[in-house]
Point group: C2
Amino acid sequence: MAAREAVDECGVKLVDPDKVDVVRAALPSDHDIAELADVFSLLGDPGRLRLLTSLLEGGELCVCDLAATTAMSESAVSHALRLLRAHRVVSVSRRGRMAYYRLDDAHVRMLLDLGLTHTGHTIAVHPERTAHAQKDQ
Amino acid sequence: MAAREAVDECGVKLVDPDKVDVVRAALPSDHDIAELADVFSLLGDPGRLRLLTSLLEGGELCVCDLAATTAMSESAVSHALRLLRAHRVVSVSRRGRMAYYRLDDAHVRMLLDLGLTHTGHTIAVHPERTAHAQKDQ
DNA sequence: CTGACATCTGAATAATTGTTCATATGTTGG
DNA sequence: CCAACATATGAACAATTATTCAGATGTCAG
C-alpha cells in the first residue's frame, strides 16, 4: 500500500515528491547560500557583535576605543576588524597613526538593527501586549 | 600635556573617553549579546540555511524530504533540526512515524527574509500563513 | 635620525562546531 | 509478537574558528 511514496534519482525515499521539487526549484543557489551564511556568521560572534553595535551607536571609533567598549584585546579587535573589512562590513579611514572604523554596509546595518530590536534591547514590534504596569512574568 | 588622551579604570589609553562612555552605556547586556549571537550563528551555516529556506518555501516538510531538498544526510538533518528546535526556531508535529517540521519563529523568519532579499535572491514571499499548508487531496 | 606609539599581521594554541557511524526509540502492518 | 521503517541520539572524529603572543609596519615628536 502506501501509494504516496516515491524515490528520487539517488534512491532516497520521498514522502511528497511534488513539494520537494517545488522547494528545490525555489532554493537560492549554493553561491547565494554560502554568501548569506557568511554574513550571518560574521554576526554570530559576541565580540564582533559588540564591535558592530559599538560602531552602530558611536558612528566612528578608533581601535583602542573599540577595545575599551568591547572589552577585547587590541589584537583581537584588529583581527576581527580585518575580517569585517574583508567582507566590506566596516570601512576604515586612517588619520595619523590612528585608524577610525565605521559601519559601511546598509544590509548588515538592517540585520543588526532587526536583530537588536527583537532581543528585548529595544521595544519589539510585536503584537505582544505588555502593559506598562506589567513587571515580572 | 596630551590633553586628548585619558585612561580608563584598567589603565588602557583612550582617545575619546566621552564617546566610549556613551557607547558603553548604550550597548546591550552580555546576555542579550550572547542571545543575538546565538541566533545569527544558527543562520550562519549553509546546511541550516538550506533547511530554513526549504521550510520558508515549503511550509511543512518531513525529515526525509528535507534531506532531499538540502542534500544532507538524514542524520545531519536530524541533528540540525534538534539544534533549531532547542532554540525554538522550528517546531515539529509528529504524525505516525513521520516528523513534520515548520518554521516557528517570526523573528528568524524576518531575518531570513531580509537576508535573502539582499543576496540578489528574491524568494517569492508568500502571505504569512506558512503554518498550515496542509495539502489534502 | 631615534624612540615611543597605534595598529597590523602570522603562526601556534585552544576552543568550538559540524559530520559520520552505529545504535536506540517508537510506529506500522502482518 | 515480529520485521521494516522514520527519526533521534551519543560518541568519535574532522574541520573550522577564535585568541594569544611576538614581532612587523608605519607615524609622529624631538
